[in-house]
Each structure stands twice: as C-alpha cells, then as structure tokens.
C-alpha cells in the first residue's frame, strides 16, 4: 500500500561510480519530483516531471539525469559520483503542479534513499 516507494533505501558506493535510484508512485499522480536533503537537513528541489516531461531542472550538475518511463515512475541516474553527492534523495509526487493553488498540488514523499559516496 506504499504510496511513493524508492529503491534502494541505502546506497554506499565509491567515488567515480555510476548509480541509479528508482521511484514509483501508485497514487495516479501526474507530477513527480526529486529532492536532495543535505547533511544539514535542508530539502532542495532537483527536478520535477509532469506527464513524463521535464518541468524543473534546478541548477543540478548534468551528471544527474532523471528518466521517466511512464507517469508512475521517475528514476534518477547519477554518473561519476562525487563525495559531495552524499545526501538523502527523496522522490515525491502530486496530482497538480506547485503554484496551482489547490489541494491537488500537495506533494507526497517517499521514504528516501541514503547515498554515501566514499
């Protein structure tokens, strides 16, 4: 019954490796997001997709490439991992886009993927 799920929950890898994080939502939402939460717990938007189209790309290095095979899935691939990529990555989904000023813009978050780059 998990609404937004992410895999893996933990990811420990060496600098320079390439890794992927997967996200799935079963809420029937049209919009999905990736957020990064750093060691100071600051939550910052990375990408948002609406109906499989990229809407937001917030000054994220091009080593990060999101891919949305369908509306229920948004994966995040990271090339050439760096120490500074260590963080918790959250996927989220909503029916409507932020700023639509209605209850359907509420975002629901997954449990997070804890990435540690050594």
């Amino acid at each position: 019954d998990t609404a937004v799920s992410q895999t893996p929950k933990y990811l420990v890898t060496q600098m320079g490796n390439d890794k992927s994080i997967k996200c799935e939502q079963n809420l029937g939402h049209d919009t999905m997001y990736w957020y990064k939460q750093d060691s100071k717990k600051f939550l910052k938007i990375m990408f948002s997709y609406n109906n499989k189209e990229l809407i937001i790309n917030e000054t994220v290095p091009n080593r990060f490439s999101p891919k949305s095979p369908d509306k229920a899935h948004l994966n995040l691939h990271i090339n050439s991992l760096e120490l500074g990529d260590s963080a918790v990555y959250f996927c989220a989904s909503s029916q409507a886009l932020p700023g639509d000023a209605n209850s359907q813009e509420t975002q629901y978050f997954g449990p997070g993927t804890r990435l540690l780059v050594l």
């Binding site: 100071k40 937001i56 917030e58 989220a92 932020p98 700023g99 975002q107 997070g112």
Partner: protein, 115 residues
C-alpha cells in the same frame, strides 16, 4: 530573493507545555503555504496547506495559522510522539520553465518533547 525562514531551529518542550513554531516568507504573491512533519530516517509527511491570510487548520494537537508575512504552527499540550522536525514550504518561481513553480522549503524546526 524569495525565501522561507523558520524559527527557532530547535525547540525543547516538556510534555504538556504548549508553544508555537514560526515560518516567515518573503515570496511575492503567495500561492499556498505547506506544513510537513519529518521523523528521523523518513520522508516528509504532509500536515496542512493554507492559502489565505486568516486561514486556520487543525489536526489533533496542531493548529496552523497564516498571516500575510508568516505562518505559525501551534502545538497544544504536546506529547513525546510529537517530536519531529517540522518543515514549511511555499511555491516559488523556478529557474527553468516559463511560469513553473517549485516548492521551496525552510530549514525546519526540530521539536523535542520531553516526558
């Protein structure tokens, strides 16, 4: 630059000791203010959305209010299970995509309720 500021950064309360958390914003043309709760090791959990100054919403021991410059999350007679980090967020125009908004979060208030 539009921003969201939460205070205090951390708050310790005795069980039953009511208090308030603050979220001030400088976004022009507010299009909603969101409150989330985040437990350690988990994703943010939605609590409330407020759209208009004067609006109030309640859920158990929590009540959120909104003015033109800030929002308060009032916690009445808190219990240890209310311990969490409380985040507020507002939609803000993104740097990419014409007319698109992104949810901008404050840094949160870590609430600890001591039995």
């Amino acid at each position: 630059e539009d921003q969201v500021t939460q205070s205090p950064e951390a708050l310790r309360l005795q069980e039953g000791e009511s208090s308030s958390l603050n979220c001030s914003y400088t976004v022009s043309g507010l299009r909603g203010l969101f409150w989330y709760r985040q437990d350690p090791g988990k994703g943010p959990e939605f609590l409330f959305t407020l759209y208009s100054a004067g609006e109030e919403k309640e859920k158990e021991r929590l009540k959120a209010t909104l003015t033109k410059k800030e929002s308060f999350l009032h916690i009445t007679a808190p219990k240890p299970e209310d311990s969490a980090t409380y985040l507020c967020a507002v939609p803000q125009r993104g740097n990419s995509g014409a007319g698109s908004y992104q949810l901008t979060f404050g840094k949160g208030t870590k609430l600890s309720v001591i039995p």
